[in-house]
């Protein structure tokens, strides 16, 4: 059955002619239809998607270089697509069809990937549980009373339940890695600037980065290869060569120094998570890695700085949703100001409003220095801590999250406790570094546990090869939730 195969395995099957893209795509579209209770997808166009798959099969017969052609992936609903709605989990964009494609979408299309559909997400990528979506919460396939994590919750649930062999997400403070950890998947946040942000609805522009959510590091390497590269339409896109990530996968772990920050093995985190991380680190040692104690003394202030910087940037980015040129406009209004205020009040959900308000406050006259400037200085100190640490080690390892997936509704009334979920992921975004989450075990109730590997700037290849070495000798990443086998 195609859904038991990784993206890389499906690619090999397509190459040998053992299966067609139409067969694979039909199978996944059927699974999406049969599993709507998870609420993982917000837009699917079966006919159009099948037409693309048939086109891919046709091209494959007539092309010499057809590697990757016809592989299906799911796409977070934050990427602009001309063919499907781009709602970003929000009422204000619930009728928005983009007049252009995001660069990521162009890259996927150029390499022959088929988009299976757009996945559910926290509204404007603001959330850690996928409960802030206008289209309702996504359920975790491992236990449907639990959240899948967020904000790329639909993407993670889709891959976890094998409704798609892989998915694309975005990560501003942990939105790829945390849902990957909660759903037993491999999730890569590349370095800031590695993948173009053009056509990706902006939340916090100095932190946002797209990346793959997959079944393995090998699949992540395959998708990163397609997604990465310079784009003149994104002023922060890096004009540096993209390495061959797949051929770097087998570099191995011999003499790789893994830095273990004592701040990340805090006794306040879940004991079962801690124990799974320790067991995984022993496995890394057996594979040749050397564990080194390091310090990231200011990392705990990451959440504080993040919740100034991200809302400040969001308040500015989201000012364009005003009901004038596109998106939701209120039905009745007395004047222009009234139209703005009502359209935005109706169009945005609670969490988005909170972040716009806190961001506006932090940027307003009299508070700018105390909040925004202070947060930017703390950001520099956190980035400097990482630079210092990387003098002693090659990669940094620790838990992705302080706990496994929490129950739906648990943190809904308490935004601050929700924010604390991202304590280990946020510092990485502040510094702009690449990091991956990979599955390393389960807790007693059967919920997956994720380990995070952080690398120096642009060292995605090293992270992927370390994760791949571990996945060659373990099978946590191949586990499928019982109801979806």
């Amino acid at each position: 059955m195609p859904h038991r195969q990784s993206l890389s395995a499906l690619n090999r099957m397509l190459a040998t002619g053992g299966i067609s893209s139409t067969e694979i795509t039909t199978h996944f579209l059927d699974r999406i239809e049969q599993n709507q209770q998870l609420n993982a997808f917000v837009s699917v166009d079966r006919e159009q998607t099948l037409a693309h798959a048939q086109q891919a099969d046709h091209s494959r017969r007539n092309e010499r270089n057809s590697n990757l052609r016809g592989l299906p992936v799911a796409l977070k609903d934050i990427f602009c697509t001309q063919d499907l709605l781009t709602s970003c989990g929000s009422r204000i964009l619930s009728n928005f069809v983009s007049p252009y494609d995001a660069t990521v979408v162009e890259h996927l299309d150029k390499d022959g990937f088929i988009v299976l559909g757009k996945t559910n997400m926290d509204e404007f990528a603001m959330g850690s549980s996928n409960e802030s979506s206008y289209f309702g919460p996504v359920l975790n396939p491992w236990n449907t009373a639990r959240v899948p994590g967020g904000s790329s919750g639909g993407s993670a649930a889709a891959v976890s339940a094998r409704l798609a062999p892989a998915a694309i997400g975005t990560d501003t403070g942990g939105s790829i890695r945390q849902p990957a950890a909660f759903c037993g998947l491999t999730g890569l946040k590349p370095s800031y600037g590695r993948i173009s942000r053009y056509g990706m609805v902006a939340y916090a522009s100095s932190l946002d980065q797209a990346g793959p959510i997959t079944q393995s590091a090998e699949d992540a390497a395959l998708l990163l290869q397609t997604m990465a590269g310079f784009d003149s339409r994104d002023s922060t896109s890096l004009d540096t060569a993209v390495p061959d990530y797949l051929s770097a996968l087998n570099t191995g772990l011999e003499n790789v120094r893994l830095g273990i920050p004592k701040e990340f093995l805090d006794p306040s985190i879940d004991a079962e998570v801690l124990s799974a991380i320790e067991t995984a680190l022993e496995e890394f040692e057996k594979l040749g890695a050397k564990l080194v104690d390091i310090e990231l003394p200011n990392s705990s202030a990451g959440i504080a700085a993040y919740y100034v910087i991200a809302p400040a940037e969001a308040s500015s980015n989201l000012s364009k949703f005003d009901g004038v040129r596109y998106g939701h406009r209120t039905a009745e209004f007395s004047d222009l100001l009234d139209m703005y205020e009502k359209s935005r009040a109706e169009g945005f959900g609670d969490e988005v409003k909170r972040r716009i308000l806190i961001g506006t406050y932090a940027l307003s006259a009299g508070y700018y220095d105390a909040y925004y400037l202070k947060a930017q200085k703390v950001r520099r100190i956190i980035a400097n801590d990482f630079s210092q640490a990387f003098k002693q080690c090659d990669l940094i390892a620790g838990p992705t999250t302080p706990s496994t997936a929490f129950p739906l509704g648990e943190n809904l009334d308490d935004p601050v406790s929700m924010y604390l979920n991202d304590v280990f992921t946020v510092p990485v975004n502040l510094a702009g570094l690449p990091a991956i989450s990979l599955p390393v075990g389960f807790d007693q109730s059967g919920l997956p546990i994720g380990l995070q590997l952080i690398g120096p700037y642009l060292k995605e290849a090293n992270i992927l090869s370390a994760a791949h070495s571990y996945q060659k000798v373990t099978d946590w990443h191949q586990r499928i939730p019982g109801d979806y086998e």
């Binding site: 205020e341 950001r379 520099r380 700037y457």
Partner: protein, 95 residues
């Protein structure tokens, strides 16, 4: 630091988000809690530290001044809430 109801109303006006009086009450509690979290950063000594706006310490690129984009007005306006004769319609601003 706590944010009062009137602070919330002022900020909501700046952000052009209409809020009801009972919402202002709730937001003042939520936002005050968030500020308490945020103020943990005051424990860190940032004397003499340059603010970091961005992960890359590089200069913005300049591009050649050439025409690349084509006029897509019709396409853009096809998704607008209200247009007339190629113009976006909004309530009257000046009498």
């Amino acid at each position: 630091m706590s944010i009062s109801k009137s602070d919330v109303e002022r900020v909501a006006r700046l952000a052009r988000i209409g809020i009801e009086p009972h919402e202002a009450e709730r937001y003042s509690i939520d936002l005050s809690n968030i500020l308490t979290l945020v103020e943990q950063m005051n424990k860190i000594d940032t004397e003499g530290i340059q603010p970091m706006a961005h992960p890359q310490d590089i200069q913005l690129r300049l591009r050649d001044d050439e025409v690349k984009e084509v006029n897509k007005r019709d396409q853009f306006q096809a998704i607008a809430p209200a247009v007339k004769q190629g113009l976006y319609l909004v309530p009257k601003v000046l009498d």
